[in-house]
Amino acid sequence: MEWVAGKKENMKRTLLEIGVILGGVFAITTLILVVAGAPPMQAFYHLIAGSIGSWLKVAQVLMGWIPLCLCACGLVYSFRIGLWNIGVEGQVVAGAVAATFVLRLGVEAGSPGVMLVLAFFGGLLGGSLWAIIAGFLKIKGGVNEIFGGLGMNFVAQGITLWLIFGPWKRPGVASMSGTELFPTNLWLPSIASLRLSPTGLGLTIAVLLVTAWVLSRTRLGLALKGIGNNPRAAYLHGLKPNRYIIIAMGLAGGCAGLAGTFQVTGVYHRLIPAISSNYGYLALLVVMLANYRIGIAPAIAFFFVCLNVGGIQLPMMLQLDSSLSGIIQGICVLTALLVYSWRRKRTITEE
């Protein structure tokens, strides 16, 4: 019975924490809006109405939720083993480049369905490869994954720009608007009235379920967790941390690569310089806010994309910069970090 009471107590605590976080975020955001001389309530209204005000908007949110969730899934693998995979952004880009490479072959090859499937495999491999390079730099070259990943992000960005302006430029003009659009039969099919891709949605839900299963129910998940918590002890138990670092990075990069492929095939239908839409970096915030667990990450991702999509309304309606969404997301994470450290302090004193 004590256990049940404890669980109830925990539940109460969690709800209280969520309340504190949301209250804090609301208060700080209101303050920022007042300082900027904007009507706070109207701004909140436009954020909400602009993101879940109609089915079309919800579909738009889901189209952003797909890549964000995929990145978050990947990050949970790398965080589980204790790696700060800041290179996720570059892994999205690498996936997008690989997918574009496959689809460019597909323009002549025919059988679009097969080419789309191949594009997803290509993206998966591209993202994986990019992450595994960072992994090898860490275990063989002594390069911290943060600096290695960051460097690889910029390299991926440089390669993308070079491709768009060089070998893959549009006939005649090369411009920041990206490569030429793919023929429509190479677009990921979508529900026309909503511009929503059921394939992407299905894929994301599948990846979410597999991730949750792998991490909680398999030997691999246990190994990642063991190494993340105590690499030395895991090593003494016969696990090889280096091997699992490569596996975790490969999985993380693979998920990010899928996100990049989706951006190419489902959203932009071409390669553009900003193909990642910063979903990699945003996913880092999502996973931090979810306290490095997959459980509530999809919900947080949905909330974050709502802010992004709703934020588009702000310049038109209130002459505010759309970056308000990013500010709210950042404050969410900072407040949560404060609350988590407060929780930790309390548990330490209770013990």
């Binding site: 700060w84 730099l137 460097g151 910029f154 390299v155 969404s325 404060l338």
Partner: protein, 326 residues
């Protein structure tokens, strides 16, 4: 190319490097004390915005620079307090602040975009600027460029030649030992994190008031923070070598614009990427050099070994690891 042109060209390298020098020397101080401030990219933008807005509203450049520095110091203080006293991951806090500060800058700077505001005019150093070539190169800029050059040597002297500098390095290498010897390691870390942040803020102000005057989206300072972080590693956490890295980068950037004509198909942004593979390469070399006796090193070609010697350097041992006095 005539001699005057060359001097002007190299002079623009020195001027363009100023904010990068300030930011990377600032980050060097912070990292020497054992703290990584990953918020550089956002800090620079936010302080650039604040510096421009303050000097636009008050028509006072000095207040602008002070405001910019204060913003950098404030963000660094948040990183410091969250990580040193609240035990949160430095990387996590710094990363969130990078993104948030950038968004704050765009949000609050929006009404001030594309306005014409005050900017620091060049102030040639009396007499010295008349020296042929060198005068054009070093002594015909605005004051912040001189400040950036001064900071390099000041912080080299401070870190390597004073007892206080020795104490920071001790804290960065082994905070427990420094604590046992009577240094308040956490306070020292916080102090030098903020100190580094002030310089980062000054770097931002230098952008919006000297190098790329004004505010806009994009401002032009985007990405500098990440580059500065890479340069700190490239320079092996040594102020003078770090500054050399900053000048090298600025040189590459200027050359990139000069040589645009040779490869018209390569956009100049590609040159921005150059520091990052260099950073990774440096880190690998440093690691290999530390493994010293291994066969791979002795078999390496001699030029590579010599390069490893030049680039040798080690990260402060407790970099990124929070210290809790027990």
């Amino acid at each position: 190319m005539s001699e005057i042109d060359l001097a002007v060209l190299l002079g623009s390298v020195v001027a363009g490097a100023a904010p990068i020098v300030l930011a990377s020397v600032g980050e060097t101080i912070t990292e020497k004390s054992g703290v990584i401030n990953l918020s550089l990219d956002g800090s620079i933008l936010l302080s650039a915005m604040v510096a421009f807005v303050i000097s636009y509203e008050t028509q006072n450049l000095l207040l602008g620079f002070a405001g910019g520095a204060a913003v950098g110091g404030l963000i660094a203080a948040i990183v410091g307090i969250f990580s040193i006293y609240l035990g949160q991951s430095q990387v996590a806090v710094g990363f969130v602040l990078t993104l948030t500060a950038k968004d704050l800058a765009y949000f609050f700077g929006n009404p001030y975009a594309r306005l014409y505001g005050p900017q620091a005019a060049p102030w040639p150093v009396p007499w010295l600027h008349k020296i042929p070539f060198l005068g054009e190169l070093f002594f015909s800029h605005s004051v912040m460029i001189y400040v950036s050059i001064f900071m390099i040597f000041f912080w080299w002297w401070y870190l390597q030649r004073t007892p206080l500098g020795l104490r920071i390095r001790a804290v960065g290498e082994h905070p427990q030992a420094a604590y046992a010897r009577g240094t308040n390691s956490r306070l020292a870390q916080l102090r030098y994190t903020v100190m580094g942040g002030l310089l980062v803020g000054l770097a931002g102000a230098t952008f919006s008031l000297c190098i790329k005057p004004g505010w806009g989206r994009p401002q032009g300072a985007e990405g500098t923070g990440w580059i500065a972080l890479a340069i700190v590693i490239f320079g092996g956490w040594h102020p003078v070598r770090v500054a050399f890295g900053a000048y090298l980068f600025s040189f590459l950037q200027v050359m990139g614009i000069q040589f645009q004509g040779l490869w018209p198909s390569v956009p100049s942004q590609v040159f921005q990427v150059a520091p990052f593979p260099l950073m990774i390469f440096t880190l690998v070399l440093m690691y290999a050099a530390q493994q010293g006796s291994s066969d791979a090193v002795s078999k390496a070609p001699s030029w590579l070994r010599r390069l490893a010697q030049v680039l040798s350097g080690t990260a402060p041992a407790s970099l990124g690891k929070p210290f809790r006095p027990e």
